[in-house]
């Protein structure tokens, strides 16, 4: 299988604190991969390293670019450049633009795929109007797919919780990513919403051809979704494999149950 | 050499005052992560209250040392009361609002207090009597440092020590530190966060008032506008030392005091205020956490 993301030997230190240590991970095309681990294991730090919020102190983040043989190294790029390269993310604690409408939130995702500048905005020439219209239509299309179209003109802050989580996904999808990074998408959802999310993520993979890397604590969701699972603990990778393999891996059980297993 | 020493001690005196005002900024920032724009005005009100009390008591014919003490105490009480009220009106209702709102509200308060004093009192500069007597034992050094400077330095030192004791060893100090770490957790373990915030404003305002009285009597005149520029400079001092850090505020005050003293002594006095601002810009660009500041708390 072709790899779209390959992370090699990734390390991140904050001062003396070693948050990540020699982590390897890869995501194939059309694959759903989960990254799990106890709280504080370094999962979100890992996401931040990949998406440019932090610059990793060691290792490489490589992506394969269509039409090119050599993978491209993206660590050290600014977050917006990483997004332009085709990696889009959501946040663990929802970070929408509360004072903007739902549609505008998604249109922000279109930003890096649009070109019009200040002059274009003021003169509002044909190409600007066309681009604007295309952006509106594209964004609306995504909202329809995600099932948020009834809320188009609502302020993002007024949406129910589950819808806000889905809006974050819609916004990320508007950037036309090849890889979607979801940071605890099911956090705070009820079983019903989680089930819907499960279906949604699968649909995004199947219909849009977007690979997915997700951090999640809801094991039922992880087991149902993932093709492969990576487990980190104390900043180190302790296991990888299919859901079945992970379920029976003693190191993983130990990491999760910790002291209880020892006792 | 004497010239240098004079500038050095002058800078130290100036720095002590900045430090006294900077403490208020730093303590408030440590707890509610808000720059209390009106803090300089509290200091100005302290100085004004002191002047009013002194004038009244002088007419009544009291002796100077007693006047100094009474005026100082009343100034501290009033500044604290203003600080307390200020928090209740302009900040407390905005605790959950975006920071921009609280900041604008603070600017509004600063504007209000200045004009309040301007309208109720006067826009003129008023002479402020020098209340510190010339100590005899200081006479040989009078060409380098005056008695007033000595009093300022000693008072600053005492206030610093008391404040450190307050924060390190008392219950309310512990509560303040807890609230500055994590307000929600502090609330959960039974700390009355509202009271801690009020208390912080009161203590910060009290130190500002002490600074106000000292500098007014040192410089010899005041008007309604003194708080603004002193407030800005004290803020620079607080940022310089690392906002949120109490020893940082003191160090920042000294560094700023020396910079100004030497820059005006050796370069030019026209641009005295520019140095403070340039310093601030440079610090924020190259070491935003300040000299002694905690490095980024990563509030991403």
């Amino acid at each position: 299988m072709e790899q779209v993301l390959k992370v090699q030997n990734l390390g991140m230190s904050f001062g003396g604190l070693r948050a990540l240590d020699a982590v390897d991970l890869d995501v194939g095309s059309n694959e759903i991969v989960a990254l799990i681990g106890p709280n504080g294991a370094g999962k979100t730090t890992f996401f931040n390293c990949i998406t440019g919020i932090y610059t990793p102190t060691e290792g490489d983040v490589l992506i394969s670019v269509k039409g090119k043989d050599k993978p491209k190294r993206i660590n050290g790029l600014k977050p917006n450049k990483v997004t332009e390269e085709g990696l889009a993310r959501t946040f663990q604690n929802i970070r929408l633009f509360p004072g903007m409408t739902v549609l505008e939130n998604v249109m922000i995702g279109r930003h890096c795929r649009m070109r019009s500048g200040v002059v274009g905005a003021v003169l509002r020439g044909k190409s600007t109007i066309r681009e604007e219209r295309a952006a509106v239509e594209y964004s609306y299309g995504i909202l329809e797919k995600i099932g948020l179209d009834p809320f188009v003109n609502e302020f993002a802050k007024n949406l129910p919780y589950g819808a806000q989580r889905r809006l974050e996904i819609a916004r990320a999808m508007a950037t036309e990513p090849f890889l979607l990074l979801l940071d605890e998408p099911a956090a705070g959802m009820n079983p019903n919403e989680t089930k819907e999310l499960d279906e949604l993520i699968k649909r995004i993979r199947d219909e849009e051809g977007i690979s997915i890397l997700l951090i999640e604590h809801d094991m039922k969701l992880v087991m149902s979704l993932s093709d492969r699972i990576f487990v980190v603990d104390y900043g180190r990778k302790i296991a990888e494999g299919t859901p079945e393999e992970i379920r029976n891996n003693p190191a993983v059980i130990n990491a999760y149950l910790g002291d209880e297993a020892d006792a | 050499m004497d010239y240098f020493l004079g500038l050095f001690l002058g800078g130290l005196t100036r720095g002590s005052i900045y430090a006294l005002i900077a403490l208020g900024y730093t303590m408030v920032y440590g707890i509610i992560e808000l720059i209390n724009f009106a803090h300089g005005e509290i200091y100005m009100i302290g100085a004004f209250t002191a002047l009013i009390v002194i004038s009244v008591l002088t007419l009544m014919g009291m002796n100077t040392i007693a006047i100094l003490v009474i005026a100082g105490v009343i100034a501290v009480v009033y500044s604290s009361a203003y600080g307390y009220t200020l928090e209740k009106i302009a900040y407390k209702p905005l605790r959950a609002a975006p920071r921009l709102s609280a900041l604008i509200s603070a600017i509004g308060m600063s504007l209000f207090l200045q004009n309040y004093v301007l309208l109720a009192q006067t826009s003129d500069f008023l002479p402020f009597p020098n209340l510190v007597p010339d100590f005899e034992f200081m006479e040989p050094y009078a060409h380098i440092i005056g008695s007033a400077e000595i009093v300022i330095l000693i008072t600053t030192a005492i206030v610093m020590i008391l404040l450190t004791i307050l924060i390190k060893f008392t219950n309310i100090g512990k509560a303040m530190r807890a609230a500055s770490q994590d307000k929600t957790m502090a609330l959960l373990v039974g700390i009355n966060v509202n009271r801690v915030i009020s208390f912080t404003f009161v203590v910060g305002s009290a130190t500002a008032a002490i600074g106000g009285v000292l500098i007014a009597s040192h410089i010899g005149m005041i008007n309604f506008y003194i708080g603004f520029i002193a407030g800005i400079k004290a803020f620079v001092a607080a940022v310089l030392g690392g906002i949120g850090s109490i020893p940082g505020a003191v160090l920042g005050g000294f560094v700023l005091g020396w910079t100004e003293s030497f820059a005006t002594g050796y370069i030019s006095s026209d641009y005295e205020d520019v140095f403070a601002f340039l310093f601030l810009v440079l610090i924020l660009i190259f070491r935003p956490q300040g000299i002694l500041g905690r490095s980024d708390k990563h509030k991403a």
């Binding site: 903007m100 509106v136 609306y140 | 720059i35 600017i107």
Partner: protein, 408 residues
């Protein structure tokens, strides 16, 4: 219903404020002549005033809390803002616009020259407000040194005219360009700063510019400033003071329309959305592929540009510039305009500028209380109506089967 508890509270508040304001309000000293004046009447005023205000304050605080509770329960009893209602009714919106236009054009013929002159000043503030609105209202960057760009424009005209004899119309675009350039120059060092730090550094920047203008005599003629700056000419013809005043009024109407047009278009564009996203959440904004640096710098540049331009007009209008016109308080007045009107709202900023600049002119008796009132205004607006008088309305779209957008 007023309960006993509320009265007790109001009495306590009243006593507290009488105590608080006692030294400053009641006693007035003159240390030179050793006179102490006792003004007990003020104490009474404070007591009664704070007693009444206590009721008003608590009433509004309760209302606000009630509103917040309702919002949490999902009861959206929120009334549609007036601005939106007017806008959504084409039959109301268009005639209102036309009426306002006719009034603006006929103003110099209806009112005296004195009033036209005041109106022209107010329009300068409209322009300044709209410019600052880009930086503060849309991009959420609290800039307290905005007046520096105004000064840049004013001194650009004064100096270029003095040294090279350049005319108003030649300097107007130069002023805009210089304003934008200074905006970027300020923008670079403060890119990494947020919120309070940004505010204080921009404030410092504004003061630095003013202090330089005050002290660098060879360049700016120091505190005495530059006088005899020519008023704008009409196709090379110099106008009388009377006609020039009217002319400047129309120039300002034209410039304001230009500003409104440009800001309105920017607001609903790719750039405008990026500004708002930046204001709402910087990290998320960057993660969505928006170049933070570029977005901030365009906001600073495009905001400062208008200040540069209005500075040129200001210099031409008063024919005299000196550093005293460009203090920090000027920045704060402009900020008040934006805050009162409604951050991010064009209509609001226009209303804010007209109210804040015209009111003190016509209520001369109260003009000494102007800054005091501005201070109260900032606090009260932030506490009770952070959206301003006329809050910003976001564009909405209609979708009927096929996605075709329509301004509703």
């Amino acid at each position: 219903m007023i309960t006993f508890g509320q009265i007790k509270k109001a009495v306590l508040v009243s006593i507290w404020f009488m105590f608080l304001t006692f030294p400053i309000m009641v006693i007035r000293v003159n240390p030179v002549e050793h006179i102490v004046e006792w003004r007990w009447k003020n104490m009474l005023l404070v007591g009664v005033g704070s007693f009444i205000l206590s009721f008003v304050w608590h009433y509004f605080i309760r209302r606000k809390e009630l509103g917040a509770q309702k919002a949490e329960l999902g009861e959206w009893a929120e009334a549609i803002p007036l601005a939106q209602r007017i806008r959504s009714k084409k039959t109301l919106y268009k005639p209102a616009l036309v009426a306002a236009g006719i009034f603006a054009l006929a103003f110099p013929f209806i009112f005296s020259l004195y009033q036209t002159n005041i109106m022209a000043s107010a329009l300068i503030y409209v322009m300044l407000g709209l410019g600052l609105n880009i930086v503060v209202g849309l991009a959420g960057l609290l800039d307290l040194g905005y007046v520096a760009f105004y000064a840049v424009g004013a001194y650009a005209y004064a100096l270029l005219n003095y040294h090279f004899g350049l005319s108003f119309w030649m300097v107007l675009p130069i002023g805009a360009a210089l304003g934008a350039t200074f905006g970027i120059l300020l923008g670079f060092p403060v890119l990494r700063l947020r919120g309070d730090y940004l505010a204080i550094v921009t404030l410092g920047f504004g003061e630095i510019i003013r202090i330089i203008l005050e002290n660098w005599n060879e360049f700016s003629f120091g505190p005495s400033g530059i006088a005899n700056i020519p008023r704008p000419s009409l196709f090379g013809i110099d106008l009388s003071v009377h006609n020039a005043t009217i002319y400047i009024y129309y120039i300002m109407i034209g410039l304001c329309l230009l500003t409104i047009f440009v800001v309105n278009r920017l607001q609903d564009s790719r750039i405008g959305r990026a500004w708002i996203a930046l204001r709402e959440d910087e990290t998320a904004c960057q993660a969505m592929g928006i170049d933070k640096t570029k977005t901030k710098l365009t906001a600073f540049a495009l905001g400062a540009m208008w200040a540069g331009m209005s500075g040129v007009v200001f210099a031409a209008k008063t024919t005299f510039v000196n550093p005293a016109s460009f203090t920090i308080w000027e920045s704060i007045i402009i900020l008040c305009i934006v805050v009162l009107g409604g951050m991010g709202s064009i209509l609001g900023v226009i209303a804010g500028a007209l109210v804040l600049i015209l009111m003190p002119e016509y209520l001369r008796a109260l003009s000494e209380f102007r800054m005091l009132a501005f201070g109260i205004l900032l606090v009260v607006m932030m506490v009770f109506r952070p959206g301003g008088l006329i809050p910003n309305v976001r564009r909405t779209y209609k979708f009927e089967g096929v996605a075709n957008d329509e301004k509703s």
